[in-house]
Point group: D2
Chain length 392, copies 4
């Protein structure tokens, strides 16, 4: 009944339904530390409401800016040249420089919404994008870009993640550092994930910016070359990021559905372009024997129970073990290409498309702060859930 006349979608694979449209809610994440977001790539801006932040945490817009800057387009020649200030405005929940315990709303306005001709992407499905599936789902879409499926919605996540990061630091000294370990066939050599610092991720040994966010300088240099090359060839390249959480106490996570690993899995898969997630030895466990894979318990010099090794990536039975949490996410090559690709129109007619300008030739450098944000949010949520129920 609501459907504009011109829309007729048959988004059905195996079956008989035609001309239906649909949608559903799903813009919240977390239980105790809960974020709800709204916003599109070409609308007025992105909003996040963060519910569950304890009262008294020092907070201002300045605290949100560093992570937003790391996520921002246009930060280097290796990423999209869209120009966005990404300046956050805190609309509620903070009084005299401290959180009040009530919900915190943050608005990040879009500034670079170029007026241009969208007729091409309006009528054609970009390969690898959500254009077709959006039409299949909603019957029509905001065709001026990715709309709600644009990576621009992650500004809201990164702003919320910056609050979560401060929360876990203040509450239990937790820290989350992410970095790139693979781009194309170039793999970084990382001896001890838990010892990589934010500084190594952001800066090279000579003090210059680490544009690819790989803490192995030699690999970083190679990765930069790979990205520059694929961009010259109007192509793109995939990669893998690793995210490490340290200082996490043993005992976070629920034994059944809300295992900590399950919530990390959902968090990372909810980011655009992620095709795989693993932790600890990950897929490498497939050809290991139990005797090679089990981490044996021992006692630390400080008298605490710990494991000799960390093949379990900091989680046993879905509950944190006190060891560093080590996660990895595989990110596909950018789907938007400046070269011509075959596709079809909304009506199913064969055509070609080439997407103009301003794309990341590789998503990984900007993916790092997004992934860190989601990991911080999961930890803040499970920390609060854990506090709810401990015996006083």
């Amino acid at each position: 009944m609501f459907l504009p006349d011109t829309v007729r979608i048959t988004g059905r694979s195996g079956g008989c339904l035609t001309e239906v449209i649909w949608f559903m809610p799903g813009n919240s994440f977390g239980q105790m530390f809960r974020i709800t977001t709204a916003g599109e790539s070409h609308g007025p801006g992105n909003v996040v409401i963060v519910d569950g932040v304890p009262p008294g945490l020092p907070l201002s817009e300045q605290d949100l800016i560093p992570d937003l800057q790391r996520r921002r387009p246009g930060q280097s020649h290796l990423v999209t040249q869209r120009r966005e200030a990404d300046e956050p405005e805190i609309l509620s929940g903070v009084f005299e420089g401290r959180t009040t315990g009530t919900s915190i709303a943050i608005l990040i306005r879009n500034t670079d919404q170029r007026s241009r001709d969208y007729s091409e992407i309006q009528d054609k499905y970009r390969p690898g994008h959500a254009d077709f599936t959006f039409d299949a789902r909603y019957g029509f879409r905001d065709y001026r870009g990715g709309g709600r499926s644009s990576a621009r919605e992650t500004t809201a996540r990164v702003a919320a993640g910056a609050i979560a990061r401060r929360l876990i630091a203040a509450e239990f000294g937790g820290a989350v550092v992410g970095y790139v370990i693979q781009i194309g066939s170039v793999r970084a050599r990382i001896e001890a994930p838990e010892r990589i610092t934010a500084d190594q991720v952001e800066s090279l040994p000579d003090g210059s910016p680490n544009l690819v966010r790989c803490p192995d300088p030699a690999a970083a240099a190679e990765m930069q070359q790979v990205i520059e090359q694929v961009r010259r060839e109007t192509d793109s390249i995939g990669g893998v990021a690793e995210i490490v959480a340290t200082g996490v106490p043993a005992g976070l996570g629920d034994p059944v559905f809300d295992k900590l690993k399950a919530d990390f899995g959902k968090a990372l898969f909810s980011l655009p372009a992620v095709l795989g997630v693993e932790y600890g030895v990950g897929f490498g466990c497939a050809d290991r024997r139990g005797s090679e894979n089990n981490d044996l318990f021992t006692t630390s010099d400080q008298g605490q129970i710990c494991t000799e090794t960390n093949r379990h990536g900091g989680m046993l039975g879905g509950i944190s073990s006190g060891q560093p949490i080590v996660l990895r996410a595989a990110v596909k090559p950018t789907s938007s290409l400046a070269r011509e690709q075959k596709t079809v129109t909304r009506g199913g007619e064969p055509t070609t498309i080439s997407t103009r300008g301003r794309h990341d030739p590789c998503l990984l450098p900007r993916f790092v702060p997004m992934a860190e944000a989601m990991v911080c949010i999961v930890l803040a949520d499970h920390w609060l859930r854990w506090k709810a129920l401990k015996t006083s």
Copy 2:
């Protein structure tokens, strides 16, 4: 205040907290099709309440038994020899052979709770198990086995999954088939995942049972040998399972946090022993270029928009594309070993442990029905969420 006197845990890695205990709820999964479970390995039984099943669906205990049998211990010499009848009793929500639309409770009593000496696992932490993290979380635990973290809780999931399976079949002709593709270094050769049948998974070409649930008969034979060998050597082995959903219409999944891939990710990571999840090309995307990775749109012989290839594993932007959904999960080798392993006691004293009898030397054969169940549940949930909001 509740804490029994004898319990003193310091489950903290990086920090200063001591002697706290905690816990939290997390025994529900799904939004519209929602399951809530309870039960331990050595208690009276496992219960699931399934909320959100439409009225009128034909259902009886008989419909639940096939999948429960596939999950059941003792089904072959390759799996644990614990003896459980796993007979479900439907306690509500079904009247005259059809669902009423109200919540369905199913009880599966435990029958093989051997009375034996648990003093060893009561006081020692089994490597790779959740014993230590349970103590860290709750302060004490039901030490007669895995308790709530035992794979026995998956009986409840498999029973609920059997209902979800019938729901998606009746509503949109959806089908879910899982199988083993790797055990140790043996990899199956699967040409077209979407054409593997449940029959191929359960039976070998000669009609004998396919004990490892690998539809490549040659690989299946090798895998069986590997399992028999590690068992002889009091060891265990990991592997990878693939789960394929066909007949899924385009349009399921939400564009942001509740992406279909995110909910599959959570569902599979919530199963015991899963260390990695991927879909489509998965981690293989890391060294691909966009021009190699994008699936180009075309039009099928029936005039429907589809893609030429399915590297995207049936989901674009987290929304189903109408192509087969192809997921993979990496499962670690069983942690329980009949050989001696080093560990510590609850008090932190060095000791050794060897777990007696009745363990799966490889979890994969019984993992298949568990993973299928979770995939069915996610599809049922997203289908109902999708129906809620389509325009009539």
Copy 3:
């Protein structure tokens, strides 16, 4: 598609839809202390899964029985004579007499499911019952009684409430006492709600059982006569119950949607037959002036801030004030009458119906433990939510 052939419902008042059927989930209550229930009046039994109970709380079936006995049919000649043992079985979550922190499942089997002729209520709509609305909602119903809308589902709530009652007592010394203050035109005189004891509710001054659960003995005697009279006249009578929670610390409840009063409102309105809920002066506030209605702050003898009066019923801004919480619920007269009433068949044909035997002529005596249970559950839930977020 699922719909049995014989069902054709047009459950639509203002509109054009015909022949649709529908349903939805809604069998869970609470956030941190969360109960999920299943079961019908004439099925095998009722089940509740209680999620969120901290580990270490002493618990056995014996702890659940007293409240179940107070709710039980057949407890006196004033209530329905259906015979149910209402014996609970704890299926999980308790080990060696203490809760483990995992989900607790409780099963209460139905024992008195008389085999009889249901053809009358199968085809006719009982006035005041949910028969018609169930058919409108689900397309068909379990016609052997109220099914899911029967007050028998409250066994599950009362069992869960008994756990909540123990939790709030152990955690903060909270106590909940309910009683009847009005039946028909007979009103009890209650000087100080917070001083009414459970003993006064259950026993008369002479030690005999207080069958109507009104702590004003004179009113109780009158009420009993009213009930006996309406029963003789094949009629029924309504009333009002008051529920008082003491020992509740200031600070429970959230300032916006999850105000404590809002969750009490939902909890009590979710019980069968409740047509009104109020707290403090309630509807009496309508003709009061602010200067008469405000409770002025002062300091107690123990130096604590409190109010001189308690017209606010223990909640200000939806947050507990530390004063006793005083709630009231209006309960309608039983709809089932042994006398003939006009109605229609499912096909809309005029007919008459008289419901045979075994009904409560007045719901109030058995309503008291149900209402107490829901109030305990809300307090347990908000207590845990509150603990989640306090600063350590």
Copy 4:
């Protein structure tokens, strides 16, 4: 740890806890049609994210303004004279004049945040307000006004309610009209609630504005006098509002916890100052007999099953019956009084307080649009839940 040094609260009635602070999330309402809000009375503004609006619904800021204007302060001399433009900005979810199916964010900036001396309310507890309970809950508060507990947060609800109102009108022809039926001892005479029109609520027969929103003109005149009088006497007065929903199909609501009446109860009790909620005969049921109270089924002229009378207020077993839904809420007299009242300081010292200017002497006129909004939201939510699960 977060707590500012100067805050020391002992918000405990019956007990021993001291100097703890706490909080929790609770800023979302609804399941399928879900709103999440943020904002304080003296911060930058109020925000609501509406999740679950189907795609294709025509929507612009203009559609939100009428209800916001009815809620707005300063609309007449009978209400608070705070000056707020209450102009909404839609930040997302609308494209080319139609909803896209994604989350809709609306921002309403505060404009009248007078700079003045708050030292009085900073240090003293206003009787009847949430000042004390906020301190008890959070340890400190935004003392520049009600903060998060201010009625200003209802701007967000009213904006969301305007969307819900359009949704239920478009989807099933539903309409919601509220009005005042009692102020002080003046009671309106309403013959047929379901026939009161929005026009009667907003305008008097002579075309002048109906400042008190009572559709009985004689009572309206008297009510106006009462309000003017209490204002002159620096006092305030309570009242009762009635809200009627028509066109609601039979079948909305779930039989157990999420009864339609339960969600209406929560919705209305979540509004500031509501002390009582009832539907149908409400508390009047207490002295009725079943034979007087039951509504008998019959068949309408159009051949539809309906009831002869509507004492059940449109809901049976918590499920809509197709009859008009009739709800009532009791609203207390404004707590803020310009006269001197006794109270204590945060430290517990006796003092007096008189709140200056700009208060509503009676909340009822502005309560009407707030209550309508919440009723619209509950109906939109249950409609979508109902659609999710009907058989196609």
